[in-house]
Amino acid sequence: MPRLERPTDQPIPGGGSMFDIVLIGAGVVGSAIARVLSQYRCTVAVIEKESDVGMAASSRNSGVIHAGINYAPDSLRARFCMQGRKLLLTWCDELNVPYKVCGKLIVAPSEEEVPGLRRLRSTGEANGVPGLAIIGPNEITELQPGIKAVAALHVPSSGIVSPYAMTLAMAEEAAVNGVTFLLECEATQIRPVDGGYAVDTDRGTVSGRWVINSAGIHAGHLAQTIDPEAPDLYPCVGEYLILDKQVGESLAMSVYPAPPVGGAGLGVHITPTTEGNVLLGPSDEYVSDPETTSCAGKTADQLLEEAMIMWPALPRHLVIGAYAGIRAKRTSPSVGGFGDFLIRQTPSADRVVHLIGIESPGLTAAPAIADYVVHEILHANEPLVQKPLSEVVHRPWSTRFDDLPEEEKERLVAKDPNYGDIICRCEGVTKHELLHALNNPLGVKTLTGIKYRCRATMGRCSGGYCLPRMVEILQEEHGWEPDDFVLRGPSSPAFAGRLIEERHD
């Protein structure tokens, strides 16, 4: 029998109790709102259908900090991208989340694409993006060797961030500051009740005076349960390939193509990650299933081909993995292109706020969206009382042991011998970091949750080395049973029980 506590063991706080705010969806936007709210005196519940926060689009994207060159100047996307970028960098510093302002090149393989670069530059300048310059092949090579292009738009204020670390760090800090996270709990309907609104879930009803719907791809149809005029969303899958860290050694910045006209995405780009890998992608394909995360073999070949137009010597044999994420698009396949973010208070129920169509640049914009929702909607309506600073717990993300200088490593090993025990060779993860990941304030114990928190199983061997070590440590030292090992949640068991039951004769 499984012995670990599961999120569903936590009862739904029912019995007429009402939260001040119920947030639906713990992606990067929901987690950002939770973090801002956790600094105020109010009761907050976050409802999340997955076993962990940030499991959908928030961890399945490019991890790029956008500078603001792609969005019409009057749009919410432009506004929240520009404000969000500044806030994001501050939040990353506060939360110790890895990021790097490495810049970006948008390249024109031929003269035909050069006018497109000029259009981006003028949009960017209208949005106030600093330092934009169209450069020639020599300057391109200086910034990023190996790129084949006649010209490029250099965007120095663009950058990269670890999207899952960002989401987890925000949510975990919110949790230690009193926000209630209800995981494995799926919202199905929002309806008015006395004094507020009820959110019906597969595990019971959670009520709040305010409801904020940040349910990502599901935000549209969930909104329609109380707000029939709310728009539909169209799932559009984006597939990525992950390349070995060896490739990251020769990529200094993101390299994008000039954006395809009318395309659902920004085109297949090559981007470094904060951990040193390289991502290729995304594709864009409208799908019917909003939960699909399947990758197609043909798409992988296409991603490589398109990336190799820009970087001909790309070492394609160093692909180590793939993933797919869903964009929550407001534009249907027949329309294409991008719609704007929609932040909508239900006309008949203005304390039910829907965040709809938060696709790219949602990661960059998340802190600004959170700031807007909390201060300009909630606080403007009924003033929130800030907690004294002494009451707000600061919970920074841990710097990876592998990234520390040797002297610091020795100091930590002397402090906790588990820092000397390296359980994951590809990513240099120590046993201390594994145990710290398991001891997270959200109570997440999935293998994917461990992966995103300490990077064990995330490297080039996909867990071939560290999974056995984790199984050994957790079975022998922490009493885990085979059934306690699940990949993403209770429906994805890693194992099928014990091979041989222990005998007690």
């Binding site: 390939l241 992950i242 060896q246 939960e291 995360t293 399947s294 990758c295 197609a296 073999g297 043909k298 992988a300 692909v319 180590i320 993995g321 793939a322 993933y323 040797e406 490593k409 020795e410 090993v413 011998p417 588990n418 000397g420 025990d421 390296i422 060779r425 590809c426 240099g428 046993k431 293998l447 080039r460 061997c461 996909s462 867990g463 071939g464 080395y465 999974l467 056995p468 199984v471 050994e472 079975q475 085979p482 699940v486 990949l487 993403r488 949640g489 429906s491 994805s492 068991p493 890693a494 194992f495 099928a496 029980g497 014990r498 091979l499 041989i500």
Partner: protein, 415 residues
Amino acid sequence: MTEQIREFDVAVIGGGPAGLAAAAAAASQGAQVALIDRNSQLGGILNQCIHDGFGLHAFGEVLTGPEFADRYVRRATDAGVFLQSNTLVTSLAPSGEIICSRYGQRKQLRAKAIVLAMGCRERTRGMIRIPGYRPAGVYTAGTAQWLTNLANVRIGRRVVILGSGDIGLIMARRLTWEGAEVIAVIEKLPYPSGLPRNINQCLLDYEIPLHLSHSVTCIHGKDRVERVTVSRFDETGTPVAGSEFDLVCDTLLLSVGLIPENELSRRAGVVLDRTTSGATVGASYMTNVPGIFSCGNVLHIHDLADWAAEEGERAGASAAKYAEGIHGDAVVEESIPIRAGDGIRYVIPQRVSRSTDQVLMSFRVTEPRGKTTIRAISGKAMIGSTQLNKAHPATMVQLRIQIEDLAGPVEVTCS
């Protein structure tokens, strides 16, 4: 690092068959030898290989993996090797300085010669880019072997195995014994990649179907594997439309190849061969970095632990000589290249020094063949040859040649 840096003549990284044999060979020549291994138990992957079939070549006996390992652990111990288990080498400098990490301790040591014997890792699903979902229940065969044999965990009940590498074949039999249903072994090539004896003893004896020229083209199931789509592949490696069929299963094992684990070597400046993914070496197994030697699966993938151990012995002996100041290999620039010619995938070593009097070449053919003549040619002169009744890519071939007045690069061919 408060403690003094320990100095050795030879440091061996990795305690599998090659590393243990190398350490024992170096120590028996009088060298001060340290062997560093990351596992608690020396022997490397042999410890999870509880089946027999080891030692036929090295000892003329049939041993299990742990028994085979034990022979070499005893040799190393008897020869006075300083054995350091539970310790992971985190960096290696070309000068022979090593930083390693273990519970409660980071330490540094230095050696005049280094033997790389880190073995290999398995190719993963991500590397071969199998389309579909990424559910629980997809394991590489070696990881599954560890979980089954050493962690008492049942990995699944209905298993499809992709790839006919030896570990996959061994696991087909092992999981059958444990009550799992092994539905099929799928191999993309028109011939098996594992040893013929394993095809017989692990598949045919248990009536497990082997689908040659087939591969898995989709994994279904968002949470746990539910089924896989299998397609037939033509001679050009393209899936044949309409040939797809689904197999219902809860587990997919991958036995799709091994990759020498050379991250440490690469960062120390060791040049790797694109075909083997291992170092390029001379006849004494020295890499391009003077004093750094390579052997076993980190050099090239072996089909038998016996061969890996033998190679380790030769590399260990060379390393001990190097530490004494006797250099068997000239620098790369002054060596004569050895090349894989027609029908040969690769040859180890990749070069030979003019001062060497003989060289043992290890190589593989590119595809299965019947009666085969292997020839080593330099210029127009044939400098060695051997006849084989049959040759198979899964089986390593060796040929020893005398080196006298080479006219130019050596090429190994088969016909």
